[in-house]
Symmetry: C2
Subunit: 278 residues, 2 copies
């Protein structure tokens, strides 16, 4: 199969959180085109079962394939945790999740082999981070903590708020007591409260941002496969460089508002998709 | 059309919140059979568009009709606010939402014609409470406030927590400044934090619980239509009295756990339904 280098990268998430991954892709791979899909009609995935998340992910991949994407980024920790292992066997283009890049960075970062993971309830219960970290290094001890209030707090805009700080202290108290030196922000919303989390964990703990690590890993993957967008302007080509398109399954206006606060550049309004039709 | 008095009442909600309505139905209409559906695969509705909530509600009503229900309770404020006016024209059995009973009680309760409403973002933005309250009495002034953190706080179990108290004070500050004497808890989860809310609003403000008011209104509706379950045991009848069945579109175990904390009696485990097939 010949893949068009100029084709866009497909990125999807359960909602708007994956825009933190898009932000890193825009910064680190500025020549790439991006098609983003946010499943705002069915958000959140974090409290849904593996079967449901897998079914939703397959629908979204079928939609992204209609946009001729050359690679797919699963910018949702829950979908990466629950659906990646199955869907990567079902498609013919490169696919990358946000979990593995975060895991590799955490393994390189830790000095004392004690790593914390904060994420949604489903991601923590899936034990995926724990399994992956320990399968790479059996000396590692992992301490997971579900933080279900963080996403609504970020969406409320309270990312620098005293109440959010107090809630973060309560959530992280146990994990910090375990003497971790590395903490993975295992949910795409969490980098948006990074500075507050940094205050809570202190200077001795390194925060790992899987969104950033994913952009680095994708860059390497495209180079290895010789699939980087050359960034030259070729008139007859179907795709132009650095073009971004956004799709959502519901509440497009709210999507646009959130996108404006997260992304480093002005983008066109999101388009509505009936994702159940795919 | 002849409706079977022994048939169950169908109750639905976007998730587990509607169980607070079931709780009131069990207490106030103990002879009635209940079939409950919680759309846990697509919860929450509060941030979804009118079109999507309407589509989901129609699917659920088609499912409930397969259970031969004699009446339907829309135990979801968002669905009551966004979909009721359309779906009540489309079905042949009585249907009642949680919004109107709460509105009528608030109108009877207020002395100074200043009423507050707390609810999800969509319910507040729909302006339904404001419109209904004022269409009954144009002297009424309504102060609405979206409280998006309350649902995750209740689901976290922090219903008597100092942090929840602080968040409630912040949300309600503006509304209380408006000298309201009545506050409608316009989201099914909120009655579960009733005692904390009572502390925040003080003795001068009456809290209206639409779940309770709905059970009273349904009782009257069934009496008026001569549709109450007689409560006698009739062997050849298809339905027995006081029987409860629960269905959910996902994460049935989490549903059961929540149901155990909310309902006044032991109930059978929820059954899984692929609601998109309806």
């Amino acid at each position: 199969m010949i893949i068009d280098k100029y084709a866009p990268i497909g990125v999807f998430d359960s909602g708007v959180g994956g825009l933190t991954v898009v932000r890193e892709l825009m910064r680190n791979l500025p020549q790439e085109n991006i098609v983003y899909f946010g499943d705002t009609a069915r958000v959140p995935y974090g409290n849904k079962s593996k079967e449901t998340v897998l079914r939703y992910s397959r629908q979204i991949i079928r939609f992204l394939e209609t946009k001729d994407v050359k690679a797919i980024v699963v910018a949702c920790n829950t979908a990466s945790a629950l659906a990646m292992d199955t869907i990567e066997k079902e498609i013919n283009i490169p696919i990358i999740g946000v979990v593995i890049p975060g895991v590799h960075t955490a393994l390189r970062t830790t000095r004392n082999n004690r790593i914390g993971v904060i994420a949604t309830d489903s991601t923590i219960k899936s034990n995926l981070y724990q399994t992956l970290l320990r399968s790479n290094n059996s000396e590692i001890t992992v301490f997971g903590k579900a933080c279900p209030l963080f996403v609504p707090l970020v969406e409320e805009g309270w990312t620098k708020d005293r109440i959010t700080y107090e809630i973060a202290c309560r959530y992280l108290d146990d994990v910090l007591d375990k003497d971790i030196d590395t903490l993975i922000m295992g949910c795409t919303h969490y980098p948006l409260m990074r500075s507050l989390l940094k205050k809570v964990v202190g200077d001795d703990v390194t925060l790992v941002n899987p969104a950033y690590e994913t952009s680095v890993a994708l860059k390497k993957l495209l180079e290895d496969l010789n699939l980087q967008n050359p960034g030259d302007f070729v008139k007859e080509k179907k795709f132009q460089c650095g073009r971004y398109r956004f799709f959502a399954s519901d509440a497009v206006e709210r999507f646009n508002t959130f996108a404006d606060t997260v992304l480093p550049c002005e983008v066109e309004s999101a388009e509505l998709v009936q994702i159940e039709d795919f």
